[in-house]
Symmetry: C2
DNA sequence: CATGCTGCTGTACGATCGTTCAACAACGTA
DNA sequence: TACGTTGTTGAACGATCGTACAGCAGCATG
């Protein structure tokens, strides 16, 4: 019994600001995806996870698909934001920034079997949901920009010591460099996928080493003009 | 009117052997996955696609999950079988066999957006279905054996010209070779994924070239003992 | 303490899901 | 032609889905 004679009746629910509640529902959605996969994507499962009633979701989101799209947007921007923060936290050298990027890619919370499971469910929705496609395009752009920015930094530095004035516009990368960039992305994604599927096969540091070796050979080729 | 006075009444359905019907249902399942994604995985959608009634599926399969697992098994073995056939069709040189493997990997019917969509749905089921996990383990083994076989062939040939008798057991590959094999798988899968997501980004032949360059540098390192 | 706004609850509804099963009918066989 | 086997149909069942909505109740305000 507390605070004198005042009735200590516990409220049956707590009102929250729409913004906070929306965020909680988004996080509950992702948690359900981690736990139950595609079957976790039901209004009742999500509302139970969030500790609210079934009706609340449609009070904050026009329909289920909008909630899922919002969760996808959140999940994407968490990834890109985390990588970007890691890069900005690193030293100023282009090589150190690339290393920070790679290490963040092969670290929790990104390197996680549950996280892969969530991605896979979202990818499964991609083909048949315009909402998901829109979110994908919007966030993937940030990822590509981040990675491409680091690569051009690196290549500019690799070329610089040899000749002061560039022979061509630096925007038009030579075809093998374009291919090498494509290969780096593929290697990165492939290693990430492989580790999540079979975490015992290799250590994260080894994945970083493989990617760095690729980048290094790329720089050597660039230096050879 | 045909064949004289005999009633030409069209039968309402055609009886088929269980084996044939099962196969037809499996193919209808995959077709539904290509068309409708995860939402295509319903008894009614699949039976409509196969042109049969809703009850027939449970006559040939104990339940829906068993049908899906059978479809997954079929899909997997089609992939591995196709790759294996391409390898065996190739010339006898290890390098030619590897090239055939890579070219088959970056060709229809494997290199297809619809096919990726089907894979993604299956992967989404993986975590929460023991049936799918069992099928995955059984078929993935064949894929790994095929790829590893070609790599050991290649490396054995690369080492042979230099020293006749191997210094160590050829089974215990040196750590960087093991890593390189992991990297090749990642590069292969990553490029495949990337192409399916964005078919315009590069040509299949370029993907083959990237993988072959990786294999070549791997052979060079092996030759250096 | 009374009032109003609105976040929130929870029942209800129609649609669709996987599965069951009794009846039907195609087709080999006698 | 009649029969028996069995592949096949399709209605029906209970469960669960997403959504709607009328009313409850938390909390700031006066």
């Amino acid at each position: 019994m507390k605070s004198g004679g005042v009735r200590a009746r516990k409220p049956r629910f707590e009102r929250q600001l729409p913004q906070q509640r929306r965020q909680a529902l988004i996080e509950a959605t992702i948690e359900c995806l981690k736990r139950y996969g595609h079957e976790g994507l039901s209004i009742r499962t999500i509302s139970a996870q969030a500790g609210v009633s079934v009706g609340l979701i449609n009070h904050h989101f026009p329909n289920k698909n909008q909630l899922i799209a919002a969760a996808y947007r959140h999940f994407n921007s968490e990834l890109v934001g985390g990588l970007q923060a890691a890069v900005e936290r690193a030293a100023d050298s282009p090589r150190a920034r690339m290393r920070a990027f790679l290490e963040a890619s092969f670290c929790p919370p990104n390197l996680d079997q549950d996280v892969l499971a969530v991605w896979v469910v979202f990818w499964g929705l991609y083909r048949h949901s315009r909402l998901i496609q829109r979110v994908q395009r919007a966030t993937y752009r940030g990822y590509v920009r981040l990675l491409r920015g680091m690569l051009t930094e690196l290549l500019a530095q690799a070329r610089a010591p040899q000749r002061r004035r560039p022979r061509r516009s630096s925007r038009a990368a030579r075809p093998d460099l374009r291919l090498a960039a494509i290969g780096l992305t593929a290697l990165l994604d492939g290693l990430w996928l492989e580790w999540c599927l079979e975490p015992g096969a290799f250590r994260p540091a080894e994945a970083v080493a493989l990617c760095e070796a690729w980048v290094e050979s790329l720089c050597r080729r660039a230096a050879r003009s």
